[in-house]
Symmetry: C2
Subunit: 260 residues, 2 copies
Amino acid sequence: MKKQKLHIVKIGGNIINDEALLTSFLKDFSAIKSPKILVHGGGKKASEVASIIGLKPKMINGRRITDEANLDIVTMVYAGLLNKKITAQLQKNNCNAMGLSGADANCILAHKRIVKDIDYGFAGDIDAVNSETINLFLQNNITPVFCAITHDKNGQLLNTNSDTIASEVAVAMSGLYETELNYVFELKGVLESIKDKNSVIKHINLEKYKQLIKEGIISEGMLPKLQNCFNALEKGVQKVKIGDVSLIKNKNELYTTLSI
Amino acid sequence: MKKQKLHIVKIGGNIINDEALLTSFLKDFSAIKSPKILVHGGGKKASEVASIIGLKPKMINGRRITDEANLDIVTMVYAGLLNKKITAQLQKNNCNAMGLSGADANCILAHKRIVKDIDYGFAGDIDAVNSETINLFLQNNITPVFCAITHDKNGQLLNTNSDTIASEVAVAMSGLYETELNYVFELKGVLESIKDKNSVIKHINLEKYKQLIKEGIISEGMLPKLQNCFNALEKGVQKVKIGDVSLIKNKNELYTTLSI
């Protein structure tokens, strides 16, 4: 039997920071007919709140460290303010959204990142996604909306990369659904040249991916994003695309499709 | 056929403010064997965050007004920080908790309070509780944990009294379950004299309730709490009790039972 389609969309901070863009995106997302899941990043709101409170971001070697005070802030902003505002807007659009952290119904289980060189504090690395419970929601016409907070089943909340959440949720659900994963961000796709916003590389397979890394075309923030894409494809996700908000309307020509 | 039992427990701010008390309460709550729902108030954390941010509580005639900035704060603190911390602790206790606002899966629908004398801002009065969806969760061994945020299905989040949420959820579920509602707070029950913490009135029926109001024994904060209790009883909730954290252990003798 052919599996039912499932659409998983991850939106990044730049969309969340732009109220008009977010509103328009959420309308398009609501219009997706198949079962769907939204995963959202944090945007600049957490840094804003931290800065108002007088909390400075803790960085080691350019990496953000989640201490207890910062964990409280991301829990407030991601799981509270952003997650509930997005959910309320989707409800307005007649999308039966339900905002979730990984702790809720034990949907996403993680562990505190093991300290090697750097102690990242309360950063979570995902161990398991509860596909059965997520499927219960989907089969009852509920659209899960995941924020970037997970837990360790031992009472500890953990700040977790939202690109990785999207990838791992997609992998877990791909056993039950024909799963498409979309990373929606500020660019039209993976660019040949960062100076030319239209220089979208339309298709990247595993070989080309390795070549682009060697050439230095894929670097910095794009590197972990593409690692998440290929992780998803290698573990059973059928389709992965990267692009801007127009991507989910399925009308634009410009976006990057990935394959293995 | 005899209906299944459902236990709905509301905890107030004083329990949330006391970490050790909250941890111990959540263990006892997790041990309740029947399907159950937790509703939690806000505690002083929202005021703390507001004060750190430099936001003064807006009051008119001693009543708190929820302007947009305060709504953002209660959404962060109630739906984010407190709701997720409580959920993670319950998960640790092997209670499959799922934190929810009224916007999530459209569980609790409200409208912005109509302006008569006072404009309360983004305060919500409840219109409907989605018992079917809540029952779906309960029947799948999920324990809903409601915070004091609802929505209007038009994109607006609303700050809503948690005692009223507990009462209205209990009423809605009483069609499906034999429902017991517990209000857990800092006192052992309704007191004959506020000076004697052990002067618990063990039983209050509708007649006695009216008499106690006349005598001035029930006043101020206790008045709306008891209104919520009798609202629940009049609309089908089987049992309502008020007491301190020991109430849900079902061992103590001292608490107030209400009946109509």
